[in-house]
């Protein structure tokens, strides 16, 4: 199988088989190798602020219940009754310390006062009279997701006990994620998710989204219509942009990447005034940025939008949002989009941002609508007997990537137009799909015959 997988992604030549995007068998392997092992985004702690709050999320095709216990700890439990498989929780969110199955009334507690482990079987009807107290309650608790981490308010989980810590998994990409999650004024965390997650289904393979958001800047031609109309918060284009120092940056050993800006000392980092149409919001950002420059003096400013392998992508500012591409079969994806704002921003600021974000993103967003059309049409047109034999092309900028100074493991293209990041993501996809162990995946050991990411040679770089 390994050689078959390796043949699907030709990193050196910048091509990948279309089978990756349409084949049923590969899709089934992905459930095991990628969604069964990688760190997956489940939600934000602000969605379960109080004890006994729960929010039903997904890991791959399956539902998990995110709960907060009375001690404030967050857990993730597979949403299926251990008795006979019934979907235990059929609400999207709520507050309860006891989940009782509608089928045979087995009940599971998330409250540490009732049971020793959250998700443990609390009671079954007729425990004495019918089960004669012989049922081992400790053995029949809900399936708990073994690895769970709260990273600056975002909740991530992995089914793989042996997975590396999330921070190692994120690597240098963390700095970009931090910018998206931190308060605009530089304080750590400080963001909340607005209530209401947009969920919708698109007839496309799930991989189109992460490989788009990882920095497929060439696709902006498909957004010409929204640029012409000018939904941007200063009245032009689709967003306010900082044009200098932009490039794609990627992590070939980790599979993450995005489009962002060259790092600079925080105190020197300037952004053009934004949200000109909304003076209150514009002023809010100006003041927050000034505070950030002071608070973070001496640190490096990293900022960009991108993808965390495998299926979580984020925009850091315009809009400020997270999207997760949940797989629903090889040719259908269920997207979940979350919107972030500073927790303590004035309502007027939150409201303006909320409206701008919705006009940009989601199934009704003037920008995102066209992306969705691209991905579904590409999936359909790649599925045919003949079409699927012809590879996709990722050769833009191939061999022109260079190490990015000061950030270990990071490479950049010195410009936005390069397909290095899509190739980085596909390389990672192949490494997972080959079934490599974590030592190999984290590059703690070498893999015989491994193909290095194509970089500009030293002589070319200096020329």
């Amino acid at each position: 199988m390994n050689s078959e997988i390796r043949d699907l992604v030709d990193v050196q030549n910048g091509t990948a088989s279309r089978e990756i995007f349409v084949d049923e068998d590969l899709y089934q392997q992905e459930q095991e190798q990628i969604f069964g092992r990688g760190w997956l985004f489940l939600g934000h702690e602000s969605q379960v602020p109080n004890p006994n709050d729960y929010y039903v999320s997904r890991m791959g095709e399956e539902q998990v219940i995110l709960t907060r216990d009375k001690q404030g700890q967050i857990h993730a439990l597979l949403n299926t009754c251990t008795h006979r498989g019934m979907k235990l929780c059929r609400y999207d969110e709520g507050n309860t310390s006891l989940f009782t199955c509608p089928y045979h009334a087995w009940s599971f507690a998330t409250d540490g006062d009732l049971v020793s482990t959250p998700g443990e079987l609390f009671g079954v009807p007729g425990y004495r009279a019918r089960y004669h107290e012989a049922l081992d309650k400790k053995k029949w608790g809900l399936v708990q997701v073994p690895r769970l981490e709260n990273y600056r308010g975002t909740i991530w989980a992995s089914w793989d006990v042996g997975a590396p810590d999330l921070e190692d998994y994120l690597g240098g990409m963390r700095a970009w994620l931090d910018f998206a999650l931190d308060h605009r004024d530089g304080r750590e965390n400080g963001a909340v998710v607005l209530a209401g997650v947009q969920k919708w289904r698109v007839k496309c393979n799930w991989k189109f989204a992460p490989t788009n958001f990882i920095g497929d800047v060439a696709h902006v031609v498909s957004h010409r219509s929204v640029d012409m109309v000018g939904i941007g918060p200063s009245g032009k284009g689709r967003r306010d942009t900082k044009t200098d120092g932009a490039s794609v940056f990627g992590w070939p050993d980790l599979g993450h990447g995005g489009a962002g800006w060259v790092a600079a000392p925080e105190e020197d980092y300037e952004q053009p005034r934004s949200f000109a149409k909304y003076p209150v919001v514009s002023q809010y950002f100006e003041e927050a940025r000034a505070k950030r420059r002071e608070l973070r003096r001496g640190e490096q400013h990293f900022q960009g939008k991108g993808t965390i392998f495998p299926n979580m992508s984020f925009h850091e500012e315009q809009p400020r949002t997270i999207i997760v591409a949940h797989p629903n079969g090889p040719r259908e994806t269920e997207f979940w989009r979350y919107y972030l704002v500073d927790a303590d921003a004035p309502d007027e600021v939150k409201d303006t941002l909320r409206r701008y974000f919705m006009s940009y993103s989601g199934p009704a967003g003037l920008t995102e609508q066209d992306d969705l059309e691209n991905w579904s049409a590409a999936t359909e047109a790649s599925s045919g007997r003949v079409a699927r034999k012809h590879p996709y092309n990722y050769q833009q900028g191939l061999g022109y990537s260079e190490p990015y100074p000061g950030v270990p493991g990071c490479v950049w293209a010195r410009q936005l137009f390069s397909e290095q990041n899509q190739l980085i993501w596909l390389k990672r996809w192949a490494e997972f799909m080959e079934g490599r162990d974590w030592d190999q995946l984290m590059h703690r050991v070498e893999v015989p015959g491994d193909v290095p990411f194509p970089m500009m040679s030293d002589s070319e770089a200096s020329a």
Partner: protein
């Protein structure tokens, strides 16, 4: 219609006829892609919102839709963004509507919930049901069904929409994208 028949109609029945006419005109404009004319049926301060639904316990039915001010919706906007949507469709490069979708709006079950007047203008709150069929490309089909509540205002003899809330009966939107006005 004879004088006698008109005289036999109550004010409420006449209002219903007027509103029926108004909604027939509106869907005709939408389904024949006369979007600029449709925009004229909206007041300048129109509030157009399509809130998201969620699965809730029957004891919390009032929270089924996210309708708090700062909640995320499918759409929540005024005339400026609605106008942007129309302009985008006219660029010829809005790929989600290029080639064009075929749409058919069925609006029915009109119920006048309240009538009143404001600044000398008649106002009405009306509830309706809608079924919108969208057919796209060769075989793409969307059915969007739900309830609407409109605040309408009559000035210069014509009704206009001041506020529309569209309660779409889906928690997960089962469409590639939402490019159709509901």
């Amino acid at each position: 219609m004879s004088e006698v028949a008109v005289a036999g109609l109550s004010a409420g029945m006449l209002l219903r006829l007027e509103l029926d006419d108004f909604y027939a005109l509106e869907v005709d404009l939408l389904d024949s892609r006369c979007f600029e004319e449709w925009l004229e049926l909206l007041t300048d301060d129109v509030e157009y919102r399509v809130p998201i639904a969620r699965n809730v316990h029957s004891s919390n039915v009032s929270t089924e839709f996210f309708t708090e001010r700062l909640d995320v919706s499918w759409m929540d906007e005024g005339k400026e963004t609605l106008t942007h949507r129309v302009e985008q469709m006219r660029t010829g490069m809005h790929w989600a509507e290029e080639p064009i979708s075929r749409t058919c709006h069925i609006v029915t079950n009109l119920r006048v919930v309240a009538t009143g007047s404001e600044d000398g203008c008649d106002t009405v709150t009306a509830r309706t049901r809608f079924l919108v069929y969208r057919n796209r490309l060769r075989s793409e089909e969307d059915f969007m069904v739900g309830k609407r509540q409109d605040d309408l205002v009559r000035s210069d003899g014509a009704w206009r929409i001041r506020r529309r809330t569209v309660y779409l009966d889906q928690t997960v939107l089962l469409s590639n994208n939402l490019t159709t006005f509901l």
